[in-house]
Amino acid sequence: MSAPCRLLARVTSNRRTAADTFWLELDAPAIAATAEPGQFVMLGLGLDDVAAPFLPRPFSVGWRDEAGRIGLLIRQFGPGTHRLASLSPGDEALLLGPLGRGFRWEQDQPLVCVAGGVGLAPFLFLAPEARRSGSKVSILYGEQTADRVFDPYLIEELTGVRPDVYTDDGTAGKAGRVVDAVDRTAGSNLYGCGPTPMLRALERRAREANLPLQVSVEEHMGCGIGTCQGCVVRSSSGEWIKSCTDGPVFDREELAWAD
């Protein structure tokens, strides 16, 4: 894990990808060069004004290229992400990253990425990297409704993997919860990212099927670099551990799942 850096990054493009969701690209060479799948950045607008997002917001690195750009898949959730949605090419934003501990994988093991909503983001980066290292990768991607789905063809273009899409209401892909599809993945390593309830369900599946699972968790963050202790999650040994530096990716065995 290389040292995080702070940089004023120029927005190179901002495209709407689905309802309440946009794909933000920024010019961030120092981060693009060293980021690993599962790592995140803190994205903020600086100190000139106090409008939300005043505190920077954490987002998974969803893509990076040789030209030094990174891509973020962001869903409008509250005031902060709402304002970020209005960033246009040329605007400057403050980035801190790459941050945290990313995903780990072995060549010979097939990866099954289970994504809930914008939990898809880190897998858009993990899938191609893992495939480059020779691993087989499949993506199970669930959304509530069709209008929120990130274009499967675009996913295939970015990752080389055609995702299995699921929607709660069946308006796109197969009907049903993405976690239920996990049954048909015996023998492979699971990777999960999405809302906490979904991760809980996924962990139960993995435990029952006794499959290895790495999850990327979400908790409110202050600093993103381990100083504020704001982002803790409960470890299996009962301690509060920092999701920003000990995580955000954890093996399921590292965390306390009891609710």
């Binding site: 995080p4 702070r6 939300a52 005043f54 908790e219 100083t227 202790q229 704001g230």
Partner: protein, 308 residues
């Protein structure tokens, strides 16, 4: 000797800008991002006698113009701090000064932490965090003059090092508490700690913060912090750390003109780690523009029309 240099408590401070307790860990966590030795120094995360587990999440959230936090003083405790954290500070903070933020449940506990640290190297003094419940009295040390006086005397008895008391903002007259600290032998004050606050998730009808209540910090509290610093400076002759909502040189200068000798930057660091050094240089620029040769000429230099 630079424009910003001043001597306090027998030590030389080449910058008035410090990083506030709880926002820079034990220094090591931010060292890659912030050139600590170009700053006045740091105040460590709170250290208690025993390790503390801290509060359940959410521990932080944004509020209008600031943030709320309830970390619960999670820390490694006296021993591990002394053995694991202090050595790094001793080796790496060659020019920047270190104050250790101390918490406890009783005056004895505060005293024990200080006693356990006092002959170690790697720091200049203590910042006593009295914004925590006093097991005896129930109230906060910081809102009960007797408890505060006893606490400061107790700690004073155990150390010769600079002893700073960090005051609580939610009191009607902070001057009373400032004087209590001065009389009890404190060497300086820090004004101010966070304001008690609460945030509710109306959709879930639950508190956003796991601990239910938390402390509000950031730009939102700037005007309160400046007033409380000014009132404390009117009440005592002690050097003061001005704290609360500082995110620019002009914010820092408000505290300095109000009477603060030094300032601490907290929440703003989360937004931009460069802010502390920017403030240092911004104060320098201001002094050049107004051709002020010594920072000390600005401390408390607020002019009140009519009050000469």
């Amino acid at each position: 000797m630079g424009r910003l240099t001043q001597r306090l408590w027998g030590a030389e401070f080449h910058s008035p800008v410090f990083l506030a307790s709880g926002t820079c860990g034990y220094g090591e966590e931010v060292a890659e991002l912030i050139p600590l030795n170009d700053l006045g120094g740091i105040v460590t995360k709170a250290v208690s006698l025993e390790p503390r587990p801290g509060n359940p999440p959410h521990r932080v959230a944004e509020t209008p113009g600031g943030m709320i936090n309830a970390i619960g003083l999670q820390n490694v405790g006296l021993e591990r701090f002394r053995d694991e954290k202090l050595p790094w500070l001793r080796e790496n903070l060659t020019r920047a000064h270190v104050f250790i933020n101390v918490v406890g449940r009783t005056a004895e506990e505060f005293g024990a932490v200080v006693a356990g640290l006092d002959d170690a190297d790697g720091f200049l003094g203590y910042e006593i965090n009295v914004s925590c419940p006093n097991v005896r009295g129930g109230t906060l040390f910081g809102t009960d003059p007797e408890a505060l006086s006893e606490l400061v005397r107790r700690v004073r008895g155990t150390t010769e090092r600079p002893l700073i008391v960090k005051l609580t903002p939610n009191v009607p007259d902070i001057g009373i508490f400032a004087r209590v600290c001065e009389e009890a032998g404190a060497d300086g004050l820090s004004t101010i700690n966070t304001f008690p606050g609460m945030l509710i998730d109306v959709e879930a009808r639950r508190p956003v913060i796991g601990n239910v209540t938390g402390g509000v910090s950031g730009p939102a509290i700037l005007p309160m912090g400046v007033l409380l610093t000014w009132q404390a400076a009117q009440a005592v002759d002690l050097p003061i750390f001005g704290i609360g909502g500082i995110r620019s040189a002009s914010d820092a200068l408000q505290y300095i003109l109000a009477g603060a000798s030094l300032v601490q930057v907290g929440t703003a660091l989360f937004v931009d780690p460069d802010v502390a050094l920017d403030i240092h240089h911004g104060i320098e620029d201001y002094m050049e523009r107004h051709d002020v040769n010594q920072l000390t000429d600005l401390i408390g230099a607020l002019e009140i029309p009519g009050h000469e």
